[in-house]
């Protein structure tokens, strides 16, 4: 593992408060947003964030659970993955 950066992907129907809700949980876990993009793909709201972990006590499992919970509340799917998975798969 080369860094502590995660890609957070949010997919679902667009509605008010998605960005607010997600970023609120991230702040609670001291996770910084390094980059953010959103687009509509195949009629679905798609938001991709590059997140940096700032806290020494960061626990991935707890963060993933919190993100999954907020996703359920907002009716969207939230996936948190280490950035290496995309780097390895698509880059040489």
């Amino acid at each position: 593992m080369s860094s502590s950066r995660f890609v957070i992907t949010v997919i679902g129907l667009d509605r008010v408060g998605i960005v607010a809700g997600i970023s609120q949980v991230m702040a609670e876990h001291s996770v910084n947003i390094a980059d953010i993009r959103q687009t509509i793909m195949n009629d679905l709201f798609t938001m991709i964030m590059l997140a940096e972990v700032k806290s020494e006590e960061f626990e991935l499992a707890a963060f993933q659970e919190a993100m999954s919970d907020i996703g359920k509340k907002l009716g969207v799917q939230v996936i948190v993955q280490h950035e290496d998975v995309f780097r390895f798969m698509h880059r040489i």
């Binding site: 997919i11 798609t46 991709i48 991935l60 996936i79 390895f88 798969m89 698509h90």
Partner: protein
Amino acid sequence: MLIHPEEILETINMVTNEHLDIRTVTMGINLRGCSHPDIKVFNQQIYDRIMHCAEKLVRTTEDIQKLYGIPIINKRISVTPIAIVAEACQTKDLTSVAETLDRVAHEVGVDFIGGFSALVQKGMTPGDLKLIDSIPQALASTKKICSSVNVATTKAGINMDAVARMGHIIKHTAELTRDSQGLGCAKLVVFSNAPEDNPFMAGAFHGVGEPDCVINVGVSGPGVVNSAVRSLQDPSLGDISECIKKTAFKITRMGEMVGREVAHRLGAQFGVLDLSLAPTPAVGDSVAAILEAMGLESCGTHGTTAALAMLNDAVKKGGAMASSSVGGLSGAFIPVSEDQGMIRAVQRGSLSLDKLEAMTCVCSVGLDMIAVPGDTSPATISAIIADEMAIGMINKKTTAVRIITAPGTQVGDTVEFGGLLGSAPVMPVHNFSSETFIARGGRIPAPIQSLTN
């Protein structure tokens, strides 16, 4: 952002819709230090040794799965062939060794332990004979043990005494696991040129040339290749080959990343990445479906061997580019019971045992998860094995036979195993006898291909 959103969504789509997964993380453990004449001491030593190495395997693998968001389906262990390490035991029956391995598998939480094995391509030692004769009872009295016997290599030829014996062992295993329709046979493989670092079951064992403790990873993804091929617009075969190569590349890269991280965290050596297209009973996650996507009406018809040869070759080329540690079996698997497309092809009458045998000439691994009628004679089973071993020996490749003679079944019946093992339609075998040929015994000498020095 250096990573393109489309790449991120492609990866997520591969996992959520196309069944991309790491099929197995297999820890290879050397048991050579455990030998002891007293089987009780021996069993205790292998128990301690495996617990020591694999205690954290499952937890670590689950952590990695969370970290990368890529499912890791199976966690497994392979050990030094038991025939070697139990050679010194003064007990004839090695069932208690299998039971010890089964107990440790339950305790560390792995799905299977492979290595209740013997390598007898040139001849059988007393330890090999003890192990082979213990296989039926060992598979009947355990849940998580996988057994394999290597009876041929390109260098040594085919040990026809062992081939003849395995026909009886397979029948006996089926009888002892009659209640589960011969399930024991699904955990027993007969090999030619068995790889020493294969992470896939039922044929995994930890070869004698391997390090003390090693992590081998098996990646899969017929579903991903199937979708990629189907998304092409009127492609030439060259376009299809390119597409398969690129897809295999991506799958392999992901497997290597996972394997290295697991090995690093467990303090084990990273061994190989086995890039095999291993189908599952899930719809679309099928090697037959890929062949049909190439333009065949039904898998098994004329052209299937050519299509499979191209698929297998393209997968290897993509994999070889992506990782310098590609090993194990690495190729397309064609297990009938585990592949919806293969099952359908058999039911439609387009895929026969003979065509499957031809297909094994151009892919890994062999006649895999084939159900044949319950009254098939041991000599016929041995002859089926001998044919497959000859293909492996002459073509310098791994071939294997995993055949189920489900007691009481006839052609047209279906044998249900459930889970990843799926269900197998019972296929007809030739009715002419091979009895005299198999009874001759001895050895088929090493072929001219063995003289490479």
